[in-house]
């Protein structure tokens, strides 16, 4: 049940890339934060829905996955620098690993992240695909 609760708690960030922005220093965070680590008590954080567009900052090709991800291997996991500045880690879908390069433009897509076996809850959320 704890995985169900965790999946449910992550819905705003996983479905709609809900992050935070510090109105004091302008830094954008993902996932959401309660306090700005720079401005501390002077900081003021507000919700910011990120657009889901950015560039590949760096990536790795997973060739030896856990059993759960065996059917999609080899697959690419990248750190993506979003337009707003925050970085997110996500799978790059619908591509051959050879096609991916640092600096490639990507956009958010909505996919299955994982499922808890055949009778468990299905977690959905963001992944990214190449714009080219």
């Amino acid at each position: 049940m704890s995985d169900t609760v965790r999946a449910w708690r992550h819905i705003p960030q996983r479905y709609n890339l809900m992050g935070s922005k510090c109105t004091q220093c302008g830094t954008v965070f993902f996932p959401q934060r309660i306090i700005c680590p720079e401005c501390r008590r002077k900081g003021q954080l507000e919700d910011l829905k990120l657009k889901g567009e950015g560039k590949i900052y760096t990536y790795s090709v997973i060739t030896t996955p856990t059993d759960e991800f065996k059917e999609i291997a080899p697959y690419v996991v990248a750190i993506i620098e979003l337009e707003e500045g925050a970085k997110v880690t996500a799978q790059i879908v619908d591509c051959d690993p050879e096609e991916v390069e640092i600096g490639d433009e990507v956009e958010m897509v909505f996919r299955r992240i994982r499922e808890e076996g055949d009778d468990g809850v299905i977690s959905y959320g963001f992944k990214f695909k190449l714009k080219k």
Binding site: I11, Y15, N16, K49, K70, E71, I72, V93, D94, V109, F110, R111, R112, I113, I122, Y124, K127
Partner: protein, 346 residues
């Protein structure tokens, strides 16, 4: 009457060719292609299902609608491949387009016409003043048993429509439905693949309902085939579609834009909504469209639609059907079988 405020589509990028499926089962690929008028079909990635396809289509529809998502008062997702047996796909879509929580939502099920049933429900609620906007989605990741004729066409895709009566891009003049109890195609609880009546799915099922709904609409509106610039029908294969079009008096030019099954397969609940979207991608102000869905079991919903002058400013705000069709990568039967969970893993 209510109209279309925005529409959006999604087709997975993987494809498998009819000749690749035929190679595995020892069928003659040319005979299959010619018989069904299908050359290839879309295949969902392992992390795609009806919920993800519905969300992508709904987000594209919202790009064209340009409305505050919180003004959506109803979300209906029509499909016969909802990811959960109990737990609505519609709540996932409502949350992902940021329309939740002040709305009603439900999943629709009527074989391949659940998407158009959702559109009708939204029209009724908009026209009665219950809601300002409604979101109706038709999407499927269709199942065909390995080796069955359905495997050549059962594919994945979907389309979403934002229904309202303000700032429409196309106005729905009328809707007419024709429904009977006809067990031509069904899936019992717990069974992985549907069963169908072979030739029985033709005359007493598809043709009877599609033709009756179209003719019912002609009578209701005082129109005939020549009054429409475009027409689209449900398309389990290309052959049925073209035969229905001919019987109703439509020519090739009127029906070719809406025919997608030859290149993406039968997207079931997504089929008529996707075909209609392909027409809206090309339509101009004043164009008149007849759309007729079909769901086994059995019934058809017909819509008589007139496009208005707002269409052109919305057409390029989201990917078009042809963009989705062109974006493709082929898989062989082994990869297809893996993607579709047809391989038993240790």
């Amino acid at each position: 009457m209510a109209g279309i405020v925005g529409y959006g589509v999604y087709v997975p990028s993987y494809r498998i060719k009819v000749e690749e499926i035929a190679r595995v089962w020892g069928d003659d690929p040319k005979a299959i292609s010619r018989g069904l008028v299908v050359t290839e079909k879309s295949v969902p990635a392992p992390d795609e299902d009806t919920a993800t396809i519905s969300v992508e289509a709904a987000r594209n529809a919202m790009k064209r609608a340009i409305i505050d998502p919180k003004k959506i008062g109803a979300v209906y997702v029509g499909s016969e491949s909802h990811p959960y047996a109990v737990k609505p796909t519609a709540t996932i879509v409502a949350e992902a387009v940021d329309a939740a929580p002040e709305l009603t939502a439900a999943d629709m099920e009527f074989a391949c016409k659940a998407g158009t049933a959702g559109m009708q429900a939204c029209m009724g609620m908009v026209d009665s003043g219950m809601i300002e906007y409604g979101l109706a989605v038709g999407a499927d990741t269709a199942q065909g048993a390995p080796g069955d004729a359905l495997e050549y066409t059962a594919s994945a895709g979907g389309a979403a429509y934002v229904i309202g009566n303000k700032d429409t891009i196309a106005d729905i003049e009328s809707t007419y439905s024709f429904t009977t109890d006809t067990p031509d195609f069904y899936r019992r609880e717990g069974m992985p693949y549907p069963s169908h009546g072979g030739r029985f799915t033709g005359e007493p099922a598809y043709f009877k309902h599609v033709l009756s709904a179209a003719k019912g609409m002609f009578d209701k509106m005082g129109t005939n085939a020549s009054d429409y610039d475009y027409a689209v029908f449900h398309q389990p294969n290309g052959k049925f579609y073209l035969k229905a079009a001919k019987k109703l008096g439509f020519n090739k030019e009127q029906v070719e834009y809406g025919l997608l099954t030859p290149v993406i397969g039968n997207t079931y609940s997504g089929a008529t909504p996707l075909g209609l979207a392909a027409i809206l991608d090309e339509a101009k102000a004043g164009d008149r469209i007849l759309a007729v869905s079909y769901g086994s079991g059995a019934g058809s919903d017909a819509f008589s639609i007139t496009v208005n002058d707002k269409i052109e400013e919305k057409q390029d705000l989201a990917p078009k059907v042809q963009d989705m069709i062109k974006n493709k990568r082929y898989v062989d039967y082994a990869v297809y079988a893996k993607f579709k969970d047809k391989i038993k893993m240790a």
